[in-house]
Symmetry: C2
Subunit: 514 residues, 2 copies
């Protein structure tokens, strides 16, 4: 057995049995080892940002890490943006990054780079294996690091000779550790705030946004009068008919200030204090009203569910007392497409168990209300703000949940960063319906130009925010990667296309021309 | 004047008047400043790897830096692979990277990242500006760093408030420094080796590969019996009819060992000692024969031309004595397409002054002989080994030389990393003909799997190297980004399509199905 095989066997044994790959020469022994080891499932990606985004999507839906296989420093570089997003989402992930043979590094060959340096800013754990006999143990350490609550990015660098030299061991990975219980003082403090009757908000994220956590929070809210809100973006939020509903902090600072203005207390459940996505001249970075007190019930890596149970008990929030979402379908609209009519079509047609990979940016800001009463579904956001996550995230979510429909809501500007994901969806016949909102602009930036106080922009500036001239044709691009696609320009066309996409179990793309 | 405007004015005054942009919110004031300052020419890219690769291409053809505009850590991350390539090519470049306002960083907003950490491994110079009044001076420092011979990557990080706060100065950039002359001892040593009559190779790269340097080397060679060879990959190599010809070190290790085996001395002119691109089991990293002595005439940042002139004088190498390439056109082939017939079509049709952006990988290994006698042209290689440079490099070269024809030789696997470059070519109507070699595989890796000794690969491994199922359709993808395209399957079709592409002054793509 060589080092590569000992690593692949260790990974499979440790529960990491999916690999999103974009290999090169230095990873050839790892690729060869895939054949020799049963149980590792590989998905080829034609760009590394697809691999890292897909691993993120997989982790969100399974709670366990997928791996990526990346080619030296530059291959890792291509994965950086979606590793950043995954790190901010605390999605567990194991990156296997090839490196030159240890004795070859000194020659500064073309691909030689500071791999640890590139990995550092986007990883929680980084290690270069020194030799073949260490790889299995290092692989187990990497998996353990990834499994550390709330989930971490582990990057293991694999010099080529550590893959091809002889090894003899398969290492055992320790079981993923449980989450620490929160301190009794934090519970007591939250209970005292909640019992005070002062206007209080529970600001939630992480595992608290799964159905059971939401129900606990809903019971607390209905008993104490507190309100619920989720962070602006979240790793995975369960919602729909029968689930306790909640809104997210809006992206525009004035709106966020407005919705947060009533509260004297904010209790954080895994969440951070609400802050602005960007700073703007003459607007605050902190979004809570002056004088509002911030309390921390549970950190992101702590056992939020246990904490909510303890609080619910202490305030006497009974089972069954939570206000859950009623089922409703918006009426099917007709005529012109705009964010509201798009939301109505979506809300009307969304199937049970859908997974929504949301990178709809400006177009999707208003999608929440009209999809709230759809059958139960999961909603995945971009937590790192680096656009180009949507289609890879959808790809990985579909690999994780082949029996569920994945709907990817994608801006045209955002989609262009990682459009190669469509090919991976085609090769593995993934059940993903992608809706591209073709406003032919970095629309969000047209607003931001004004928000930052850059007045009266001229042609040269506006040209940098405009994706027209020429218009992108998403139908042709999708077809070029083997994905069936159609273009729609009104509600009737969109409803028909979405019906077709949802009925298909193969990838399907709808270009919604706005 | 705000900080952004003071920076843009400093850049234009310092000779950096081209910007390949992919901006976001934190760069909006920089974008707004573009309107207020005459002389800055902006080119929008839909992915940051296109911007960094285009800046590389621009620098290679002008010798001066272009700038990029990138959005925080993840935007920089997307540029990393082609920044790596540009760093290895020592192409001068000024990256302007937006950052959160200085006072906003502490809140760890979604896009917050260790930007300096990401920039470090792919930059020679990194600085974060502390305030608006420092930006102009920092911009001048960045340009000066980029201009430092042989060319450097300078990354200037621009917190948003340093762009919008008041500034008052435009800074002067010092003139680019000249190259240091090489030590007399290095010249004397080279002369003594050359006069010894022992088999000697001049291993060349950098500025020595422009026509005048090649002519000097050719004079030395014809006078002393020394041979000439270029590094395996080079920033820019001038060749064709009337120019002193030379081959490059081959990529496959056995071939490289073979062509280098005759030499007892290798004299380096800007070049590194020849080394293998990758290490392979039981093959050496160093490619020179045992006992061969390596001599350094000039470092990459030194004045190679002056050094060659001094050597030429010392060995009595007269003007006019160099053996230059005779003009020849290969006969136009017919029938099946293979690397040789493709080379013949190319060699037959290449126009004078063509700029070849070569990322043809396996298909193009044999292109050199049949294009050697074409009219004078420039040949640009990938020096960092990270595929995905070809189409961005061609884009930047065309911006630099709008009156010349750029021909991009691109592998299908490589092209997929940065296909968004085609849209930029369409928007700015760039005169680039792209030839995609569609072998529908990472063909190079199919060979490498065997080269590293991974024997009898099975289906799972081979699937990771195969780009079929589904086949990529480059015509549809190019059309989807506004680029005219055609698919060819034989020599006649290729000749007709290439003739059409070369006759057009707009971007044009030919998918060569192999």
């Amino acid at each position: 057995m060589n080092g590569a095989e000992s690593l692949v066997r260790t990974m499979v044994k440790g529960g990491v049995d999916v690999c999103f790959t974009n290999p090169g020469t230095s990873e050839m022994h790892f690729v060869a080892a895939l054949d020799k080891v049963d149980g590792m499932n590989c998905f080829l990606c034609l760009f590394e940002g697809v691999a890292s985004g897909a691993a993120d999507g997989y982790a969100r839906m399974t709670g366990t890490p997928a791996s990526t296989l990346l080619h030296l420093g530059p291959g890792l570089g291509n994965a950086v943006a979606n590793l950043h997003n995954a790190k901010k989402a605390n999605s567990p992930m194991v990156n296997i990054i090839g490196e030159h043979a240890t004795y070859h590094v000194e020659y500064d060959a073309p691909l030689t780079a500071d791999i640890e340096g590139i990995a550092g800013p986007v990883s929680h754990w980084v290690k270069t294996s020194p030799d073949a006999k260490s790889i299995a143990a290092d692989g187990a350490l990497a998996i353990a690091a990834a499994n550390q609550p709330p989930g971490q990015i582990a990057s293991l660098i694999l010099p080529a000779n550590t893959a091809w030299d002889d090894a003899d061991a398969v290492a055992d990975t320790p079981a993923a550790p449980g989450r620490a219980k929160v301190d009794e003082k934090a519970v007591e403090n939250a209970v005292s705030v909640l019992k005070s009757g002062a206007p209080t908000l529970l600001m939630m994220t992480g595992q608290s946004l799964y159905e059971y956590g939401l129900n606990l929070a809903g019971r607390i809210a209905s008993t104490t009068g507190a309100k619920l809100m989720a962070q602006g973006s979240n790793q995975r939020l369960q919602r729909g008919a029968g689930i306790v509903p909640l809104n997210r902090v809006p992206y525009p600072v004035p709106q966020a200030l407005d919705v947060l203005s009533p509260y004297e207390h904010i209790i954080l459940i895994g969440a951070k204090p609400p802050i602005a996505f960007f700073a703007y001249p003459n607007q605050p970075s902190e979004l809570h009203p002056e004088g509002c007190q911030i309390h921390r019930l549970a950190e992101l890596d702590e056992d939020m569910i246990d904490a909510l149970e303890r609080v619910a008990d202490a305030v006497g929030a009974k089972e069954g007392s939570a206000a859950t979402q009623e089922a409703f379908k918006p009426e099917m609209p007709s005529g012109a497409l705009d964010p509201d009519t798009i939301a109505a079509v979506l809300g009307n047609l969304m199937p049970e168990g859908a997974i929504i990979a949301d990178e709809s940016v400006t177009t999707g800001r208003g999608f929440y209300p009209l999809t709230a009463g759809a059958p139960p579904h999961d909603w995945l956001n971009n937590m790192g703000g680096s656009i180009g996550l949507g289609m890879p995230l959808a790809t990985g979510a579909s690999v994780a949940c082949p029996d569920r429909k994945v709907i990817c809501l994608e801006g045209d500007g955002s989609g262009m960063y990682t459009l190669q994901a469509l090919w991976t969806q085609a090769r593995y016949d993934l059940d993903v319906t992608t809706i591209v909102f073709a406003n032919r602009a970095y629309r969000i930036l047209q607003g931001e130009l004004a928000n930052v106080g850059a007045e009266n922009p001229g042609r040269k500036a506006l040209d940098m925010l405009d994706l027209g001239r020429p218009d992108l044709d998403w139908v042709k691009m999708a077809n070029g990667m083997g994905v069936e696609a159609t273009k729609v320009t009104d509600c009737e066309g969109f409803a028909k296309a979405l019906t077709a996409g949802l009925a298909s179990t193969s990838p399907y793309l709808i270009e919604v021309v706005l």
